[in-house]
Symmetry: C2
Subunit: 371 residues, 2 copies
């Protein structure tokens, strides 16, 4: 049911369309994160108004609460969350290793305690596939072992080998064509392991592939060193997803390397922490320099805050007073910035001008907010 | 600039239109509270979509932060908050007595410390008029002394006399026809004091009148006993505002007594506490009975939550997970309920069927939520 259509290239970068049963998404695309079924602080209509076409949920969180069976009884994730476009669920491979307490990893899977309820749970490739197919996302992710970075070579190889064995079990447990399974390349910071993981993952001939295990605590140079060599070796006719990345400059590097899909909590989380993205880099709205500023965050920005006529001064007031409206306006602004960045990069690829575009973006980010 | 047009009567109840420079509002009307310039958890467009025509701000809070002069430099409250309809500011007479610490009341005014910054401030009739005219609301409220209830007769008389002396100073300091000044009737729970306060307040011949000092801690029977005799004695050709009230049944009593305008934090605050208004009384969304319920909060409700197709089960999940979206949907629902109630009451007055309407509403509220 999922198909990637390549439309243009510029170096390793590609512009295309991800065709899904719930609509077609121009790529490269950024997917806002709605971990528990809601992109924080926004209604689904507001999410769509940022320009987002596909959103992400997290099967680990949703299976704990409200429960995958309950979501299925409510008609699945789309019906429950009131999002009619395509959705992707992460398996929670990363979360179970980073959030769960008292976890015991075996070849069977991961036994862990829910830090909230204290209840014991098992997550395995089979259980994750069942959960994600119950949730009913258009794209589901393999359940893998994602070591936190940086990690040693033995640990990286073990996790990679286990992820590949688990991928085989995911493929066995994958029943629904409506849910396109993506495999995940691991291998931490080791170029040869990454390459081997990629080749053996691609051998499963899946609807799409992801690069996992980046932005999990390792130095930034690791991804910068690996990505340009790695992404272009993924199959041309499948979508390529860089998981959990990242800052605007990371998205640029990903796009330049040939990535089609991104997700990250950064625009939403930073918004709630009063850090707002602009073409001139980040704007800290709490700063006293904005106290009397009648201007929008960024002139011409089509978001609820800027196009809605809210001044920096009023946004600062809302932020300092902890008004909920600030969270909504700030989140809408940041997600609109990310979607706009993706549109600019896509247009540059189509026009064959990605290199000039990248230089301009980097110069503006470095310049900082003008007075 | 402000004019009240009486359109229909049913007993003491009245249907009319409040004509302002920023639009005409059918009455009786409920004004959502946007204390610090934002009706909590909603964008101005979402507030308007609930059916609200006029919203309230609080001059005490706004003068402390961001400051009345700053608001004026940003173009006034409407421009800053992006609300183009009429607005009313409360003087903060109630807040300065209930929230401020270390207050010293003199004939001059109230000296108090801002509990947040520790800074010392003076609030007086003259200062309050200046603040409210800087903010630029369409309706501004007299700065009065509002004793917390229940209070003794001497205290009630002293506060009433002082409020009347202060009203004279408010009228003296009132410069702008664009800001219609409302006087406030005090007198606590004493019928004769209330009557005297009303007569002497009305003698100032102001654009509108409010009943203050209800719902400030006194037993419920006090207002029930006084309101039906008090409100009808206000001048027919001026709008009548019952401050800070209340529950749906209190609004019904107010409307039956001839009140035109209400404000209360109840719909917005209760929403954030997961208590949702329905025609069958309140619905506690955290309750386990809603865990798997695919139905909307109330069938036919035009709010973002109900008309948006959000199930009770999903709303419960959002609430338990402390998702910000819950606050938005719940607030929108409760305010929509309040606006719908006002529309139903207004239509019943126009049709001369308020008594039958009241019986039906009371029976439904008492019935409780059906399975």
């Amino acid at each position: 049911m999922l198909r990637y259509e390549l439309q243009a290239r510029d170096g390793s970068a590609r512009a295309g369309v991800l065709h899904t049963q719930r609509g077609s998404i121009p790529t490269p695309t950024f997917m806002p994160v709605g971990t528990r079924g809601s992109v924080k602080a926004l209604t689904p209509e507001q999410v769509a108004a940022t320009g987002a076409g596909i959103v992400l949920g997290n099967a680990y969180h949703l299976a704990l609460r409200p429960g995958a069976e309950l979501v299925a009884r409510l008609g699945g994730l789309h019906a429950m969350c009131r999002w009619s476009g395509p959705m992707l669920t992460d398996s929670g491979g990363f979360q179970v290793f980073s959030l769960a307490s008292l976890r015991q990893v075996s070849e069977q899977g991961v036994e862990f305690r829910d830090p909230r309820s204290g209840d014991k749970h098992l997550l395995s490739p089979e259980i994750s596939m069942q959960q994600q197919q119950l949730l009913g996302a258009d794209i589901i992710m393999a359940f893998d072992e994602c070591p936190e970075g940086p990690c040693g070579r033995d640990r990286a190889r073990d996790a990679m080998e286990r992820s590949l064995r688990w991928l085989g079990r995911c493929v066995e447990a994958w029943r629904s064509d409506a849910c396109a399974l993506f495999g995940i390349v691991q291998g931490a910071g080791y170029a040869d392991l990454r390459q081997e993981s990629l080749d053996r993952t691609v051998a499963f001939d899946l609807p799409g592939y992801a690069l996992g295990g980046f932005s999990v605590g390792e130095p930034k140079q690791v991804m910068e060193g690996l990505l340009p060599g790695l992404a272009p070796r993924l199959p041309e006719d499948r979508p390529r997803y860089l998981m959990g990345v990242g800052k605007p400059e990371d998205l640029l590097l990903g796009v330049q390397s040939g990535i089609d899909m991104f997700d990250c909590v950064m625009p939403t989380r930073n918004a709630r922490n009063a850090s707002l993205f602009t073409r001139w880099g980040s704007l800290r709205i709490r700063n006293a320099r904005h106290r009397e500023d009648p201007r929008p965050l960024e002139a011409g920005c089509p978001c609820l805050a800027c196009a809605g006529g809210f001044s920096r001064a009023f946004l600062r007031h809302l932020c300092l007073e902890k008004e909920i409206l600030f969270l909504t306006l700030a989140t809408h602004h940041n997600l609109t910035y990310y979607q706009g960045l993706m549109r600019v990069l896509r247009a540059a690829i189509v026009a064959g001008e990605l290199s000039a575009c990248a230089s301009r973006l980097q110069a503006e980010w470095a310049a900082g907010l003008p007075d």
